[in-house]
Amino acid sequence: MSTTFMTTAPLPAATLPPRAGVGFKPQHFEAIRAGGAGLGFLEVHAENHMGAGGPPHRRLAALRADSALSIHGVGLSIGHPGPLDEAHLDRLAALLARYEPASFSEHLAWSSHGGPLADLLPLPYTEETLATVIDHVDRVQSRLKRRMLLENPSTYVRFAASTIPEAEFLAEVIRVTGCGLLLDVANVEVSAINHGFDAIAFLDALPLDAIGEVHLAGRFDTVDAAGLPLAIDTHDAPTPPSVWALYRHLIERTGPLPTLIEWDAAIPPFATLAAEAATAQAILDRARETLDAAA
């Protein structure tokens, strides 16, 4: 159908509904089961569900029965120059086979080096790392037999060795591997603050039609030792107004997209999370009305 060379055959692309969802936390299980606040989907971390059974799987099976599911990996270390952890990839494959989620996503980052570092660490953007990340995304997609979404990172430092702008790097990985983009709007703004670039220009440089999911989250704003703004991606607070503004700008351009409220620390009562999701849903609903009116 196409004469363009592709490194992989087109992969099945299950998709999340273009609605608002939340990151699932066990303490919200009963509240979600009781009504779910009309959530479009739930997201869980893959690495929290890698045992054989027990409460994590019992909860996930119950949630999966009546909700679209996104499985979000945090440990694959796709941005590391070494080979992928095939044992971990096997466990991911088993988890995805068990729950058949609508989406699987991972990060443009590395998180292990001779042992786990448990943080999403930045990589230089060079021809060498571009080839590595393309290799790794290809391998993940062929092993998991599905399209994955790759998430843009939040970063605090850059590398002197980098020769490719981040948006261009992501766009090229997406173009060559056919993977999708998990656009973390909060990460875009954290990096924009920390490196002093324009967040809207960054969005404009991304292949927005490849977005399979959007993340929104809160952050901690502080200053560094030089007194200059330092934004830290903490996922422990409401989404700040400036991130909502950037999100509205995005959705006006793209139309409704699956949108997740990420809140991973200092977990609030479910009602707080549901209110954040409702704010996102209202923005998605308005975009839907605009599209319908134009049709």
Binding site: A52, G53, P55, H88, R91, S112
Partner: protein, 264 residues
């Protein structure tokens, strides 16, 4: 990745290999400056790099805090974190799944000089690792003793029992089960009503992990069954420990715990 060629010389580290190695080294050691490869467009590089170092240490030590809440309370936050730092620096676990770090942590603690100073700490860490294994173990439906009614008692003695995959025994020269129990909940632990050795049975027959101190003869009985011995041999092992071991009574108790999933 290119296909592996066994005759090829060891590849020289690429620029990215070297950058990642320097970055990881600077995360490990707070005394090191930010790696030479890193830059900032504005502001102070050291404070910005410190975000990564802080995140990586808080996240990893936080995992150990969550895996071993009682061990941490016993030695105090500061000592427990020092032990954790040593673990990640000297012989870190493999893989990104937090629950998989529990057993390697216990093994390395047992092999370290800390085990000589605080031998009970190793046992508590083993007990909490067993709890975590049970929490994540596979599902299996328990059977009732009545399900064995079709087998004549003499014949039953030639059978073994299939036990729940979550089941383990942790033996200690210290009363670790009792210590564990008084440290559940937030408040000051109640005084210990016991001293001396304890063996603790941990399992998850349904949603909740159970933690039960078992008598020495019961421990010998369950241990023999776990090794695949038949009921007759397991009872003999228990009788070697306590001459008054009552098989019928103990078998009933074992089934009531919900840890028997079949007849072998």
């Amino acid at each position: 990745m290119p296909p592996h060629d066994a005759t090829a010389p060891t590849p020289t580290p690429t620029p990215a290999d070297a950058i990642v190695a320097r970055f990881a080294a600077a995360i490990a050691d707070p005394a090191l400056p930010p790696p030479v490869d890193t830059i900032v467009a504005r502001g102070d590089l050291a404070s910005r790099f410190a975000v990564y170092r802080n995140n990586a240490w808080v996240a990893r030590l936080g995992v150990l805090d969550d895996l071993f809440p009682v061990a941490r309370r016993l030695v105090g936050d500061e000592a427990f974190r020092a032990i954790g730092r040593r673990f990640f620096l000297s012989d870190p676990p493999i893989g990104p799944v937090a629950q998989d770090w529990a057993d390697p942590f216990a093994d390395r603690l047992a092999a370290s000089d800390i085990a000589e100073v605080w031998p009970w700490l190793v046992d508590m860490v083993r007990l909490e690792a067993a709890w975590m294994r049970a929490h994540h173990a596979g599902e299996a439906a328990p059977i009732a003793l009545a399900d064995c009614a079709a087998i004549a008692p003499e014949a039953l003695m030639r059978h073994g029992l299939r036990l729940h995959p979550s089941l383990s025994l942790t033996a200690s020269a210290f009363p670790i089960g009792s210590i564990w129990a008084v440290h559940q909940g937030e408040g000051e632990p109640a005084p210990l009503a016991t001293e001396g050795p304890e063996t603790v049975l941990v399992a998850r027959p349904d949603a909740e992990v159970i933690v039960v101190v078992v008598a020495p003869a019961d421990a010998a009985f369950v241990a023999a069954l776990m090794l695949g011995e038949n009921l007759g041999a397991a009872a003999d092992a228990a009788l070697d420990v306590a001459a008054d071991f009552d098989l019928g009574d103990r078998l009933t108790a074992l089934f009531r715990l919900g840890v028997v999933i079949g007849i072998a």
